[in-house]
Structures are given as C-alpha cells and as structure tokens.
Amino acid sequence: MLSEELIAIVGERHVLSRPAELLAYENDGLPGYHSRPRLAVFPGTRDEVVAVVAALWRAGVPFVPRGAGTGLSGGALAGDVVLLGLQRLRRIVAVDPVARTALVEPGVVNASLTKAATPFGLHYAPDPSSQTACTIGGNVAENAGGPHCLKYGVTLNHVLAATVLLPDGEIVALETPRDGRAGYDLLGAFVGSEGCFGVALDVTVRLTPNPESVVTLLADFRSLDAAAHAVSAIIAEGILPAACEMMDDATIRAVEASIYAAGYPVDAAAVLLVELDGAAAGLADDVAAVDRLCRASGARDVRTASDAAERARLWQGRKKAFGAMGRIAPDLVVQDAVVPRTKLAPILARIAEIGARHRVRVCNVFHAGDGNLHPNIPYDASDADEAARVHAAMREVMELCIAEGGSITGEHGVGRDKLAYMDRLFPAASLDAMCRLRDAFDPRRRANPGKVVPARYCREWAGVTDVEP
C-alpha cells in the first residue's frame, strides 16, 4: 500500500491519512475552497523527498507540492491526490556574503532568510506580504512578488540556480544562463511554474545589499482617484520608488482595529505608502518631489516615518492587511490583477462602480506602482444571495482588467482560482504551447495536475480524471 511505503520513508508521524488530520490541509491561504487530499506526506530531508517522489511515480499517483500553504490562488489544493509538504526542509545551507548569494532548502521561510543575511548587511529582496510565513520553495513556484518588487524585481530576478526533482524522479540542475553561457533559460521557465514542473530540492538566491538610506512616506488622500493620480505623477517624474502601495478606507480601518495598527488616518479615503531608498546623496530631492507630487494630486497630508521602528510599523500594517480582512466578514475573495499603470484611476473608478452595482464592498490594498491590483471582497458565504453577487462582481472586475489590456495575476498565480479566466486571456494556441512546455518537465501530468492551464487545452493530455473543479 502507498501509505505504508511512504511511512517507511518518512516515518509514521509524517504521513497523514485519517480524515481529521487532513482537514487542516484542505485549503491553502485562499479561503472559499476545500478539497481533501488523499494523503499528506512530509519528508524531512532531500533524500526523503527524492524517495517519496519516486514511490509516487511508481504508484502512478499525482502529487501537489506545498510550502507553508499561504498561496492565494488555490495552487496547493490537493483534492484526492497526494499533498507533498516541504515545510520541514528549512535548512539555510550557506550564506556567501562575498558572492552575495544563499543556498537554501525549499521550506526556508522568506523572512528567516533575510534574518540570516542581516549580519552581513544583506537581505532577500522579494518580500511578499506573507513573508513571515511563506517559504522560498513556494515563492519560486509562484514567482512571488511583494511591495519592493517595484524597484528590485520579482522572485525570478533573484533566483540564480535550482536543483529540481522532476516528477519521474530525475534530478536536474537548472541555472540562469550567464557568464557567456548560452542556451534556453530553463530556470526561468521553472520559476513561476506553480508546482506543475516538479519540486525544487534547493535554491540558490541572490542577496541584496541593504540600501544606505531609506525614507518612507505616508500620504493621505480624500479619494482613491487622487491617490491613483499621485502614483502616475510620481512615475511620470522619473522617480522609481522602492515601493508604492495603496490602501483604501475599509482596509485602513481593518488594519487600525488590529494588533498591527500603524497610525494610518482612519478618515482617509486612501493612503499611499511610498518608500524611497538608495544612496543618501540625492535622496532628499526625490523625497521632496514625491511630497510635492502627492500634495499637488490632492493629498491632505504627507508624513515621513521618523525612525526605523515607525517605518516597520507602517510596513507591518500594510503587509498584514489581508489577514485583517477577517474583521470585516467571515469569508473573503482575494484577487490579483495587473492593469496598465496609466489607467489606474479610471479602472479603480470602474471597480467601485461594479461593486456598488452588485452591492458588495470592494477593499483595495495593492502594489500601485506596478499597477498590480488586489481587489478583495469580504462577505458572508452563508448568505447565498450575497455570495452570488460577490462572485458576479469579481468576474466583472477581472473581465474589466483583461479588457483594459491587463492580466489576471501579478504574483498569486493562476492556481485553481483563475483557471476560468485563462482562455479569455490567451488564445487556444498559446494555451497549447504552455502544455507542450510542461511536457518537457512533466509529460504525465503528475505534478499539481489540473492547475494553471485548463486541461481541455492540452491536446495530448493524458488523463488524470479527478482534477477539474
């Protein structure tokens, strides 16, 4: 039996098969979906991962890799297949302060990596809001972003190499082509493959020097529209902030009611959190310019964090905002769409109009500088009428973003949640090409089946039957 074989590899405590113990693994960070894995297995070493995947291959059983389960697209849902949890592999194997790299196992928590790099004046730049919980393996799978990716780039720009275990048990070393070496960027294909191409056994990441100087501004607006215009004005001025984040009034109030209260103005319609960093020389000019542009766009007030502690509070409030949504209503739809930055103001107005028409409350907390929207709608799923209105409104929002030349995900991935939008965004030929790329890594569709590309677009699709939502 499969579970006995897995127990022989990882030990009894690390294989879960009874219903009560699988409940906690029925969903990831995205509320609203539940699907029970057939089994959950948690290897503790690289060798155990290899042995487990080999056993699954022999048994012909698909698996879903999972890090900390903080993903927001249902990417780690493992209904009826095996959930492969990698959170026990959390060794930071090496930090090289000279080369500014680190070699880590996939279960290392994002914030722990930065903590390990801090003594060397370095940090790991991609900083998803869940960074205190999420893992590097999950970040690689989702090509995770975060506020500071505006200036520093997403996970893809910080991964230098990975040792990848393919679903058939083959181990391949993938590297970014550099130093004159030629060839396809297979590592680039792997980063963001949402667990469909295999499992990273280790990852070599770039560490970034801490900036000499950092200034964090909080601008307070009477309307979303004014805040959106300020974002465009800042970018148009040629300034590249380290981060440029927007939060609307409902989000501000949820955060201010929480343990992460940051001192945001609760009577504001929106706030912008703008961080400028770099060499101390010249930074003051950018700070003055951002201050001026915000005020010219209608900011009531612009203030600057006075010290590191206040800066940390301002960021904690922003980063924990998603979790604070539970204060508004028990259920939540979370979205992640990208729109052209120049259209931010009109699109936010249209989203508000869609919300009003469906009588739902859209809460905006997002990476404004990237045009990466996170419209969230808290609601009560036990109210069937409200639930229907919420989903109808969200569909309209996503269709609007696609129609305006945007995309359906900036950083959360497609997972299961956004499968239905894929064929609105891509023609059939493109989806088929994605399937064929996948064939290079996982022709039998054993890793995270049924995610990212709707199965019907894969011509040679081989037949896992339990994957359609």
Binding site: A24, A68, I259, G323, A324, G326, R327
Partner: protein, 417 residues
C-alpha cells in the same frame, strides 16, 4: 448553525497563516494540525459536528496546544484563540477527560486546605534537600524535583530597608497565588515591599482563593467560576483600589473574569469592574517609575524572558523591563526569542512532558548564549520550568522574579527618588 454561533470568534480566521511561525508547537512538530489555524479548523469541525468530539486525532492535536496565545499577538484579524480553546476544552471535558494526575492537581488547587497541605509537603521536600538531591534524576520525578529545587532561596537578610513610599498612589491588594504563596513566599513579600516603596499602600484580602486559570485551561469552567466569585467577593471586601498580581498566568485569568462570568447576570457587572482593577505588579511599578535602586551585588548580567500570559494574553511588554532597568548598573541583555513560550504552560509540563521539554530546549540554548547569571520572568510556572531546565543542564544561571531582583536592590541601598 454556523461556526460563528457555535464557536464565537472562529469566524474571524481567514486562514492566512500569519500565525504559523509564532506557534511553538508548529515549529517543533511541523504539522499544521499543531498550528493555530489548523487547530481552529479542528475546533470548528468539532463545534459544527463534522468531527466527533471523541476523535482521537483532533484531541491529541488540541491537547498538544500550550495555550501560550502567541498566535494572538500575530493575528491581524484578532481571532480570540485562547477563548476558542477554552470553549472547546469545556465542550470536550466530558468525552475526553484529563489524565488522572492533572485532575488531581485541579482538585487540590480548588481547595485552600489541600493546597496548603500540598505546598507544605513540597516545602518539606525542598528544605530537607530531597528535591535538590533528586533534581538530576531521570524522568518525571527528576523533573518535578528540579522544579521544586529551583524555587529554593537563600534565607533573606534580616534587616530590610524601611519602605520609603508615602502610599499616595492608592491601596493595593495582592493576589497570593497558590504556587507563589506556597513556593515563592519570598517573592510575594518582595512584591509587597516594592509596591510600598513605590508609594502604594498594601492591604490584605483574606478569603481569596486559587484564580481558576488551570481549571479554565483544562475545560473545567464551572469550578473556575466558583473560584472567581469567591475572589471577586474577597477583593471587594478588602476595599483596595487596585489588585496586583505577580503571577502572569493568574493575572491573565483575573483580567478575564468579566469574560468568564459574562453569562451570569448576578455577577457579570461585578466581574467586569473587578477585572478592570487588576494589574500585573510590573504595570504598577512602571506607572510609578519605578524608583531607582541598587546596584546589585556584583552587578550580574540579567536577561528577561516574557511569560506568555503577560506578553500575549495581557499584552504587557515593557513594564517588567522598566522594573529591571530601575536597578542601577544592571547589565540587562536581550534574550533572543524571548516572546516564545518556554513550554511550561500550566499543567502542560505535567501532561505533555516530552513536547514541553522540546519547546524548552531552544530557550535554554538562548539563555546560555546570553551569558546571563540571572534570567528574570514574572510567572511561577516559567520560573520553575526554566529553573529546572537550568539545573538539569548543569547551568549556573538562576531564574528569578523581576520583583525579587528589584527588592534585593532596594534592600542594599533603599529606594531613591
């Protein structure tokens, strides 16, 4: 009915996972069933009836929760995890009874007479040196004896500096506490002296009993309510403006009497008024300064470990540090992960000894790395658990209540304005 009605507060959880890394048992066991959000899933399922209350898996994972409430300090949504756990344990009490040893402890603590007898027995073991002798013995006996041995104090010097306070900050009654009065008698007297030295007037509150915290945590809310009513009445009789507590676990309980008696129309308002007057001793000291003192003999290096029920349950973070900083020349060094549970957690070290030790071991390593001669912490459970761990690991560091250190400093020099 939905989880909101069946387990109020559980609807606040959106499963974001921000609690995971705050949870000592998740870090030790790597299983979400032993994490806050995983346990909330289990508690909801039990409340809704999708899991049988007798489910062995669910009960094991819930039993393994320390109840440290560090997750509450990490939760953006304000999930009242401690209340969810207490409500669930109350629901499970009949179908999933506690181990015999734990039930015995609860019976003893509910009776002042039995408590006094048990503490007397413990003091005999301590005074005769039996506890010290057996402190390094293997297993539970050794661990218990080490806990007892860690409470030993050198006889206090006869002459104490007269308190300099003028009582203008109002009258304060102190909670004696079962273990504090039984085994940390010196710390209780020190508490009274440092309060007096900082202008509070100490009054006694006869008739007070066990706070009931252990009972609530074990699902015996009925007995805890009986104890709460007795305590409210006793402290009302004392006429004190404020109630000071030097045991973080008891203080957190006293501050929650309003919640405990929320469905009792006769006591609800009295309980709320009572809870509003409860302070940790460090809060009172911080409000008064506290007056500077010391230095201590040899200016020892001191580090501070935050009791979970002070930091996470009461949200009191800085006052104990202010009390320690009032000691002149104190070499106060930060303890890494001081916000993480030591594994004591009331009855936990008794009923889950293995996991309790696993949670303790990183704590001991961090303490050793500071090079501190004293680790200060304001809760008897933590003092004994850490103290026992130090003894059993052969360390020379001792665990002390912050007021013991402040009192010793006052004794040397007297409080200064």
């Amino acid at each position: 009915m939905s989880a909101r009605d069946l387990l109020p507060g559980s609807e606040l959880c959106v499963h974001c996972g921000f609690c995971l890394q705050a949870c000592p048992t998740y870090l030790a066991l790597d299983d979400e069933n032993d994490s806050p959000r995983g346990r909330i899933v289990l508690m909801k399922a039990i409340a809704e009836g999708t899991l049988a209350p007798g489910d062995d898996d669910a009960n094991r994972h819930l039993d393994q929760c320390l109840g440290c409430r560090a997750c509450e300090s990490a939760c953006p949504s304000g999930v009242p995890y401690g209340h969810l756990l207490e409500a669930t344990r109350e629901r499970l009490a009949t179908v999933h009874p506690l181990p015999v040893v734990a039930r015995l402890v609860l019976v003893v603590f509910a009776s002042p007479l039995l408590t006094r007898a048990a503490m007397l027995g413990a003091r005999v073991l301590r005074a005769t040196g039996v506890a010290t002798l057996l402190a390094r013995a293997p297993g539970r006996i050794g661990a218990s004896m080490a806990m007892l041995a860690s409470t030993r104090r050198a006889a206090s010097r006869a002459a104490r500096a007269a308190p300099a306070g003028d009582g203008r900050r109002g009258t304060v009654a102190t909670l004696d506490g079962c273990v504090m009065e039984g085994l940390f008698t010196a710390a209780n007297r020190a508490t009274e002296r440092v309060l007096e030295a900082n202008d509070y007037r100490h009054v006694s509150a006869p008739g007070q009993q066990c706070c009931g915290a252990l009972h609530v945590h074990a699902g015996d809310a009925a007995r805890a309510r009986t104890l709460a009513r007795a305590n409210i009445a006793a402290f009302e009789r004392s006429g004190a403006d404020l109630i000071a507590v030097n045991s973080a676990g008891c203080g957190a309980m006293l501050k929650e009497y309003g919640h405990l008696l929320r469905d009792d129309p006769q006591w609800r308002d009295r309980a709320r008024a009572f809870s509003a007057r409860v302070r940790d001793v460090s809060e009172l000291l911080a409000a008064a300064g506290p007056r500077a003192a010391g230095p201590l003999d040899g200016a020892p290096r001191v580090t501070y470990d935050a009791p979970c029920h002070l930091l996470h349950a009461q949200r009191v973070a800085d006052p104990p540090l202010r009390a320690l900083r009032a000691i002149r020349d104190v070499d106060l060094v930060p303890l890494p992960d001081a916000d993480q549970c030591c594994g004591s957690a009331g009855l936990y070290s008794l009923v889950e000894p293995g996991l309790s030790q696993r949670v303790l071991s990183p704590k001991l390593a961090h303490i050793a790395a500071t090079g501190a001669a004293v680790v200060a912490s304001g809760n008897p459970g933590c003092l004994m658990h850490i103290g026992a761990g130090l003894i059993r690991s052969g360390a020379t560091t001792v665990a002390r209540h912050p007021v013991e250190l402040l009192d010793a400093a006052y004794a040397r020099t007297g409080p200064s304005a």
